[in-house]
């Protein structure tokens, strides 16, 4: 539970910030997807954008807690062999 929150919550906060800044500057109508103008509704673009930001930030948080594992935890399995 704790790890889930550590990954999902900070990334949610940062994604909200990134969403605000990004779409203030960029009009979703001007975006291109695989070389074609985005044809989704504006609300869909904003929503997908937010979820995208969230996923990217969550991936970063996940990497952080993955790399944060202490040596004791990493060495544990080999000790049992």
């Amino acid at each position: 539970m704790r790890k889930w929150i550590l990954v999902l919550w900070p990334s949610f906060l940062v994604a909200a910030l990134a969403e605000g800044v990004f779409f203030t500057v960029v009009d979703p109508q001007e975006l291109y997807l695989f070389g074609k103008p985005v044809h989704y509704s504006a609300l869909a673009t904003y929503s997908i954008g937010f979820i995208g930001f969230w996923l990217v930030c969550a991936a970063s948080s996940l990497t952080t807690i993955f790399l944060q594992r202490p040596a004791t935890e990493l060495n544990q399995p080999s000790r049992h062999h």
């Binding site: 704790r2 929150i5 509704s41 869909a44 929503s47």
Partner: protein, 475 residues
Amino acid sequence: MNDASPKPSPRRDAAVDQDEVLYAPRKKLYVRAVTGLFANWRWALVWITQIIFYGLPWLRWNDRQAVLFHLTERKFYIFGWVFWPQDVFFLAILLIISAYALFFFTAVAGRLWCGYACPQTVYTEIFMWIEQKIEGDHNKRQKLDQAPMSGRKLAIRSAKYGAWALLSLWTGFTFVAYFSPLQELLQSVTTFGFGPWELFWILFYGSFTYLFAGIMREQVCKYMCPYARFQSVMFDPDTLVITYDEERGEPRGTRRKGIDPRSVGKGDCIDCGICVQVCPTGIDIRKGLQYECIGCAACIDACDQVMDKMNYPRGLIRYSTENALRQHWGSKEIVAHVMRPRTLLYGAVLALVCVGFVWGLAMREPLRVDVIRDRASLAREVEDGMIENVYRLQVMNMTEAARNFNLAVSGLEGVKIDGDGKVKVGPAATEAVTLRVLVPYDSGKPGANEIAFDVKAEDDPSLTVHEKTTFLFPR
């Protein structure tokens, strides 16, 4: 909720509390309800903030929703104002104002925001009120939790969760109505024809309200709120915080009513533990200032009532400062120390930015023009020895009336617009107009020449924009 999981021993629990940085395994709190001066303030803030939050989307202004952050149109409507992405400056200023207001209030009186106005506090307050009405007081709630599942328990539980769910849905709906017009949403309600994303966000925001205010509560403040982690840097020894007067209270202990506590070697604290029972974060304020304390002052109300019953003076727990407690200051000296370099600095910056914000709003020209030279056709020689350049003017009318604008050009001898030079722009709309500008061949030098467009509202001569650009002559 605890009945399924094995109960950790108190020692283990304390260790976990120190190690876990986020969302510790938790002992469920049965917060005792409290009445009194500060509880009234909290409820006043609940009413004010929620009347505004739930009510604003219903207000109309000039035949439209008064407050609407219209995402599809990329325009923010706030009563008489229409903000465009170009106005992001105001949003930035508003964020700076919020930050400095937070710094200022925290320096003066601690976590006022957390205790009274934060949505987490406000919704927790509302959800706990519902819980109290349906399940009864803290003792009854604990008993119900421990009781085996029965028809009665199921009925009470369903009623509570149902009421929470309804309120959460309504909150989610209201939230979405700030970004998507309420009238359209209301029509969707009757037919259940919500767009997929509208529905998604209603449920998303609703579930988070339910989860945060119904289930997680103080855990959000303790483990998830960034502000709770850094608010202490704004504190100093003159900051008003909720304080237990240790000198007066200790040694604590039970005693018979009506005897002088000093005669039995005791302080004023009767160790009834009500201050702990009413605390929404489950801390003991008598252990001193802790980061978990959200400054809600529930313990002050509770303790004052106990002091009244014991015929002791109120204020064993009260708003006080570190310095005041140490030097036995009265309220006059505490107030005198509100003014100090830190608060003066925060206050000055806050006032300055506020003035700037208001000035900026007042000076904001509700007309904007972007001039783009047509790159495809540079300078072209046309009939009568004139040189022609083509421009695209983006005229943004930020007022709420449709307006006719007269376009004029100046800067070169004999420069003129081909056509009538008029454009009509709808209310809060943008109109792109392509203009052919003609200049006699002998009135400019080869290369770039400076010219300027003047866009003037027909019905309001003060509404005007002067926009410079260049006119190219063939080399």
